[in-house]
Symmetry: C2
Subunit: 285 residues, 2 copies
């Protein structure tokens, strides 16, 4: 698989050495993580500026993105970049090799000094993820994956949970940050459908990419959400599939990184989750 | 306040030196925390035995409780003890001085190797908390409080958040572990009411006592839940009120440690939360 990817890349554009990509992305994630950890110290919280009231963006967000993007563009000048906090650009994913970056996934947690947040760096080629790096600064956990080569946490191979009954499953979702009427209705329906499925536990931890890491690491059996953007999904969706999860949209179709919805689930519970979510109306706006 | 408490205790029973109580409780919490941390290492998860499918209890739970209760009863033979995993006893709180212990708050997280769980040790006299110790083993955060003397995290005084608009508030609740029809209905109504309030963020982290610690530490503006037992509330409800939170039941009445519902909120948002929850039906079973 890895050789295929490299070969395709070689035909289409400047060859990318995925090991070199990984090395640079890991370094960039640690650099941004150091900024995050400094802000999480008591009394050090970064100034908060708002995108919307429910979607805060901090100076630290912007600083992390500057650091990550400058390291990536210096090492890979031929690659495009797409970041959550970028100004300019149209924010769309093209077919070209693109670094897709969320400088701080879980910003609302971060501004509340809650350490459940991470840096997400994905490399996407022809709209599909080929490499992912996710760094959880508070625990120094480094999640890495290259398509076809498996998923790893601090160098140890990851495998999804073997739990095969919903009564023992921990399922993660989010109530999100959108508060328009149709989004609220969607979230109410989704949460109602989930509790009707009677899982052991329902969690809303507050960071999409880090939620996907939980599934990859076997600490959750499923995560679904309508809302995440490409920068939330690019790295962690690959991590999940490389760890053995079924990763689709919430209807069971092929994951579209720009489709703003995802279901990552252990294969043995996939049909139950899809069935439970079948009648949940998608938000229309 | 502290002197009043000691004086009442002296009149009613063997005098309790609250500083000595704190010292022993902190030691017990660390001893239990070491067991928790050992289990959270990769591959070390404790054997799981079930109370109910959604309420697992592990060997580690029982071992932690044995360790904590034996340290407390050896140091304070005149005190009663009440623990989540205790067999025998009627599980009820009396007027006597009682150590109320949750050996692992957040067991479903714990069995999924999620480190969001804590040890909770409260000292309750005449059904009111006078001392609390909460230990989060993964971060080594030690939360402590004595009635009238303030709330502390690793020795630093805690104060609740100053956020005063709901649009910037992070509110924590839980979907719980009960899956009967009326509990499901209650949880659906409560979550719907909460999102209709349009807070910045809604979280379900999965551990009642540790959720209360978030409010006390200013990392969340509110936490409410129908479900927690006295062992979830004894230590952390005092921590919250000592940090400046308004701590009541979900209708705004005096907190009953055995009433199985709590609202802890920054005072400036209390009325909005109470209003939002007013029409949520309580579970009847």
């Amino acid at each position: 698989m890895q050789k295929t990817v490299i070969s395709e890349l070689e035909q289409k554009q400047a060859a990318l050495d995925l090991d070199h990509c990984m090395s640079v992305a890991v370094g960039a994630a640690i650099a941004a993580g150091n900024i995050v950890n400094a802000c999480l110290q008591p009394g050090a919280m970064s100034a908060i500026s708002d995108k919307t009231a429910t979607d805060p963006v901090t100076e630290a967000d912007k600083e992390c993105e500057r650091v990550v993007l400058s390291m990536l563009t210096r090492a890979f000048p031929a690659c495009k970049v797409l970041g959550e906090e970028m100004s300019g650009g149209d924010g769309r994913l093209t077919d070209g090799a693109t670094w897709v970056v969320d400088p701080i996934d879980g910003t609302a947690n971060f501004v509340h000094c809650n350490p459940y947040c991470c840096i997400s760096i994905g490399l996407v080629v022809r709209r599909e993820s080929v490499l992912g790096v996710l760094y959880h600064p508070a625990t120094k956990d480094m999640y890495t994956c290259i398509r076809g080569r498996g998923a790893f946490l601090n160098g140890n191979r990851l495998k999804v949970s073997s739990v095969d009954v919903i009564e023992r499953a921990l399922v993660v979702t989010e109530m999100g940050s959108q508060r328009s009427a149709d989004w609220i209705h969607h979230k109410q329906c989704a949460m109602s459908a989930l509790i009707n499925l009677k899982p052991q536990a329902i969690r809303c931890f507050g960071a999409a990419a880090l939620n996907l890491c939980q599934v990859a690491a076997g600490r959750a059996e499923a995560y679904f959400e309508h809302g995440p953007y490409a920068w939330d999904l690019a790295a962690a969706s690959l991590l999940c599939s490389e760890a053995g999860a079924a990763v689709t949209d919430m209807r069971g179709g092929a994951l579209d990184l720009c489709g703003r919805n995802v279901l990552a689930v252990v294969p043995q519970l996939q049909q139950q989750l899809l069935q439970a979510l079948r009648d949940v109306p998608a938000p229309t706006s």
